[in-house]
Symmetry: C2
Subunit: 198 residues, 2 copies
DNA sequence: GAACTTATTGAACACCGTTTATTTCCGACA
DNA sequence: TGTCGGAAATAAACGGTGTTCAATAAGTTC
């Protein structure tokens, strides 16, 4: 039943990525499997391995797209922001909004851990860095009053901290006693952290 | 080959938990499997299911013990600390030290995500809260000068932020441009966040 | 020593990622 | 137009996973 030119390799790739995104959106990372993706696009597992070296490659494609969306959302939210505080705050809000909107897709970014010896693909790493670059740009104006190194540190701290609060909140690990939204907590973090800095 | 009373149920449980800890310590969460644990303690999978309802239960046992160790390490590190800053700083250091020392065991705490409908066991949740309580206690002195709500928020923000920085650092997602240790970054976070607070 | 009870096993089930021999189709050439 | 080579797609296999369960073997009781 080999259908030689129903779809090109690239088309199959694209179909597979979209199917994977759909599955992850509904069932989460745990629900993703090669056979499920293959069935959804009307091919068999073998075909999937003709187009991806490993399932890991497909996962990186899906996560890469999530990073792309995050980048677009965050940079859009930062358009026209005036101060480092405003910029960081706006981008953090956009980040959290996406995480709340599509928790499964967002969650897959950190749920997926690559096995022992493997390396993160360069293209994926670039997307991560591009995203982090937004935060770095935001705090750059502070460089006038502070050593470059401290400003770079601040960006890393903010990035990590926002991520951590968001993650604990999304996985319900911060509901110990009281109800603060991820937005509130991150807002407090950014305000307190940046006050007295610039 | 049924050996009726070689070990009691509790003994088998204990052996299984320790075997699982050993496996996770060496191969990480990914390397853990029911059959591997069973083989390591000289029983078959079936026996494991006589003692644990699901593999999930064993995982929670292992993670629970990790939380216990973290609690001991952190509270020991806080012994005799004077200011909120000192206490939070000391406990964060202990937290990071453990994560660096046993990255596989620490990593399993967040790598394991419980499937869709399931609930976190109460005993496990209690351990999480006990750990978070250390941070809460540390910042409590600030309550003299700030509303209770703000102090509670501060504890959550610090806890999430430390976790996030630690996680990104341990999974090499913060090595974008520059070399700051998790210790340094967390130190910056706590200092900046608490300065002007108390 | 036989009967009962139960801890333990081994095999089964349905899934997983991955590989491979085989089939089936398409395009090109005679 | 017919055939043949090459490649696309498949089906089946391999070794693994979590989980269940009938069968077995050992200890206890009579």
């Amino acid at each position: 039943m080999a259908r030689r030119s129903d779809h090109t390799r690239d088309e199959i790739r694209e179909m597979a990525i979209q199917a994977a995104e759909r599955i992850v959106g509904l069932e989460g990372y745990q629900g993703l499997s090669a056979r499920k993706v293959a069935a959804e696009i009307g091919y068999t597992v073998g075909t999937l391995y003709l187009v991806f070296d490993k399932l890991e490659d497909l996962i990186f494609q899906v996560n890469g797209r999530t990073l792309d969306v995050l980048y677009e959302r965050m940079s859009a939210a930062m358009a026209g922001c005036a101060s480092p505080y405003d910029c960081v705050s706006a981008s953090a809000r956009a980040y959290i909004d996406f995480a709340l909107e599509q928790p499964k897709r967002w969650g897959m970014i950190y749920e997926h851990v690559l096995p022992e010896g493997e390396k993160v693909p360069a293209a994926y790493q670039a997307k991560v860095e591009r995203l982090f670059g937004l935060v770095e740009e935001s705090v750059k104006p502070l460089a006038q009053r502070h050593p470059r190194r401290e400003v770079a540190q601040a960006a890393r701290v903010l990035w990590g901290a926002v991520h951590g609060i968001c993650m604990l909140k999304l996985t319900n690990k911060l509901d110990v006693a009281g109800e603060d939204s991820a937005h509130e907590l991150v807002e407090v973090l950014i305000r307190r952290f940046l006050q007295g800095f610039g």
